[in-house]
Symmetry: C2
Subunit: 217 residues, 2 copies
Amino acid sequence: MGAAGGRRAGLALALALAAAVVLAAWRRRRPRPVREVLFFPSPPSCTEALLAEAAEPGAAVRPCPCPLPRGDCSLSRLLRLLLSARRSLDICLFAFCSPQLGRAVQLLHRRGVRVRVVTDAQYMGLRGSQIGLLRHVGIQVRHDQEDGYMHHKFAIVDRKMLITGSLNWTTQAIQNNRENVLVVEDAEYVEPFLDEFEKIWEKYNPINYRYFSKDSK
Amino acid sequence: MGAAGGRRAGLALALALAAAVVLAAWRRRRPRPVREVLFFPSPPSCTEALLAEAAEPGAAVRPCPCPLPRGDCSLSRLLRLLLSARRSLDICLFAFCSPQLGRAVQLLHRRGVRVRVVTDAQYMGLRGSQIGLLRHVGIQVRHDQEDGYMHHKFAIVDRKMLITGSLNWTTQAIQNNRENVLVVEDAEYVEPFLDEFEKIWEKYNPINYRYFSKDSK
């Protein structure tokens, strides 16, 4: 190889090295998409510190006197994922009775996150349901008007993280049932769920309610 | 660049081209992982031709006289994904009553696929449950012995394709409910579900059953 060829080869090597450095820096800056599986039952645990810290970040948290363990578990992980919301939280849940998850959702609403909840008409009035409390603080809730169940159990955080599975957000399901939750940050899965949410949200708009029976027409 | 440099550059180019051709061929041979989302309700549809063709591939299928539509729908897609099993099908289902899905599972069992079913003890005896029929043809079924529900709704095809979501395999859920099913061929999601299945399968082994109450001890 002549001197000119050597210089060209050196230049090509330098360019390749620079490209590798830029690529590595770009990859490091872009957080890896969240990809997780959570299984339940999750043992009873104290989530007081987690929720108090989320309510007032940086404030001194008074230690909770309860005897429950404070370690990480599927419920605390689910709470952390939800509490990572900055702009929006779209929830589509057959049954929502968990006081801890209810508190997290109220907290996000207070923080200015746009929360929307879709639920099942037949289950939202059950004892312990969080739906009334969510409505009371001003969170938008819509419910089905159909014969079948609104049986979805998913949430979408900031229109990019999908949390879905078999788990209804009830203490019974969290502490006693065998359940699974997938966490997916991948547009190929998230976008169909966003479309489904928007479709259902519009379909269950109260302006479309029919308050008369077929006979009264 | 001298003659030797030119020859080396030519050789490098030829090698790079050969590598690109091999890589493209390898990518073409390796099927793209299945990544799907199915939503329900799925309209009532005739799956007779699909199931008959799967039972006897290539045989002349007698046209079904029923008036139901035969087009693709979420149920037919779910059936096709299950019927793609060649070696194993591991099912973990709270409720299993759909005759069409039951027929597909029996068909796989007859074809020599190793089928294992885990279900919920309180729901497996309900009217219309497929569990008794599956056991009758020799499919291994195990059920929980716990207070909580075995509330999972997933299946794993050939230990590599995960089918999971909110959908119980019942005609009510398929035709009337709002439900979702994710289909994932990605070891990062599939392996935790395989581990969960094996753990539950062993835990619910009948040799571990306790037929006595605490008082009779």
